[in-house]
Amino acid sequence: MSILAWTYIMVFLTFSLYLSIAWIARVKTTKGFYVAGGGVSPLANGMATAADWMSAASFISMAGMVSFMGYGGSIYLLGWTGGYVLLALFLAPYLRKFGKFTVPDFVGDRYYSDTARLVALICAIFVSLTYVAGQMRGVGIVFSRFLEVDVNTGVMIGMAIVFFYAALGGMKGITYTQVAQYVVLIFAYVITAVAISIMITGHFIPQIGFGSVITSGPDTGKYLLETIDALHRDLGFSEYTQAFGPGSKGMLDVFCITLALMVGTAGLPHVIIRFYTVPSVRGARISAGYALLFIALLYTTAPAVASFARYNMINTLHETPYSEAPSWVRNWEQTGLIAWVDKTGDGIMHYAPGDAFEGRPSFTGETGEFGQRLVSNPITDNANEMFIDRDIMVLANPEIANLPAWIIALVAAGGLAAALSTASGLLIVVSSSISHDLYYRMINRQATEAQRLLVGRVMIGVAVMIAGYFGINPPGFVAQVVAFAFGLAASSFFPIIVLGIFDKRTNREGCITGMILGMGFTFFYIIHVNFMGAAPWFLGISAEGIGAVGMAINFIAAVVVSRLTPPPPQEVQDMVESIRYPRGSSSAYDH
């Protein structure tokens, strides 16, 4: 059976599974809709959190980024896992004990202020919408590459599926589909990594394999990483495992980016609200452990995939005549993810540092003398002739490893699972922010259960439409999503929630000043550096890392202003005292 046929079968089967789960898990109460009834087992919540967290970018792009950046890619590996330690120690148990529905709920109640609630609500919506736009695009791209449909059709199919199960089942439907999506995506990811690890090093555990010796080919008997370092030296790249050097980020910048990603992870509303769904404080603590365990399974496999792919790519492409290139090179050239310009006119592909030409390939529609697709981009004058999209490192892996067609199809289903699970988690945040925090808490306190559910479902529809719009017309800033979403989450929520739990003296004035200053600075810096082309003027820290500075500003401002203004009322201080002890936690309650 062909790859395409297998892909249709896999996608059909997995989508039917998600829709059936959603139908079984449909809800009739706001508690079910917002926090899945508060009865999700910690293990299931761990899986759902992992799927919620690992987006199309984690699944498709991350190994590719590490593959091209070598050591430099560690910022993502560390940054997107280390935040769970902060979440488990600083936030999850206490927010669970507090036991309301959303993050703005906590900010509004703890700081006895609707202004604070509103600022938190705007942050939550902004962060989630920026993030979800990228997910919808991811769905479209996977559809177009594997199912040969138009990107926009792919986005619409994705929208319809997510709308169906999110509107029907709310958080409950999302939670149980995410559990299924986690299983699909991790199986797809790990099975290909294991196959490639065995092929190159003979080890079936990729995490050990990439530190082992190569067992076949011309480099037999040499350590894989050592071999890649040597290849890099020969081609003029800096070594794969080398940490700092010419052309790489400085140590302070690497530190700040990693910190901003970690803190941002712990401050992302769609991750935080997952911990409201477990039945107890104990459950919240262990659930964070399960979540990171499940995430680590992919995040420790990714750097192994990255180095296998790097080795394979250089070996199969560099100084190989185009006419003798393996079939996957031409397959992916057809999709525009690989392009070759024959600068030397010898019919041989040369790979070197730098871009082969400016921008992404724009094909002329004609083919050159060796059958390669010609591009109209301005050619650069370096020795590199290859354009290789980083996403290929995961997408082409099964083909490179000669795995059967059904596994290639499974990778497509895995990519879709990753994108859909994250999109749905973000949509519920947008929906609950508007229907619960804005509509119910601030506009209509008398709303009935049925009215609130209806508003929640309608808001999912609106959010899906907005996300879909950005998926079809991606704004220029999608590439900057990382800087924005993490920088803003790090500089707004994290400090305010931590102080809210660990410092009784932090009051309304401190909270609002801290959030506005921290987030304002981060927002301004990212715009200034990423959109107005300014040099990174604050200690050379790039836009991705500035959230760490914004967080520090928020902390300092909140603490100082709180000391200069009256302390919070006694009942708020009592509430802070009570959330510190697990006893007496009920499941998330309405109010």
Binding site: G82, M251, S280, V281, I286, A296
Partner: protein, 83 residues
């Protein structure tokens, strides 16, 4: 009772400080600030600093969360604040 509870909270904070110190040392210490020094040592084919940055720190993160869970389980029972 109140005095008891402030001891509970103090112990919790102590655990947090210890665990977060380990968290910072393996990721920022071994993985970033001292990565070049550690890269002079090898773990099989891995330069050690590189291994911490791409593998080791992540394993330690997972262990830290479970250790905290077990410590707090014990502490909750000891001070009788468990659910």
């Amino acid at each position: 009772m109140t005095k008891d509870l402030s001891m509970y909270w103090k112990k919790n904070l102590t655990y947090m400080v210890i665990l977060l110190t380990i968290w910072g040392v393996v990721s920022y210490g071994f993985g970033i600030f001292f990565v070049e020094q550690l890269n002079n040592f090898y773990l099989g084919g891995f330069p050690l600093g590189f291994w911490f940055a791409q593998q080791g720190a992540i394993y330690v993160f997972v262990v830290l969360i479970f250790v905290y869970y077990f410590l707090m389980q014990k502490l909750d029972r000891e001070f009788d604040v468990n659910e």
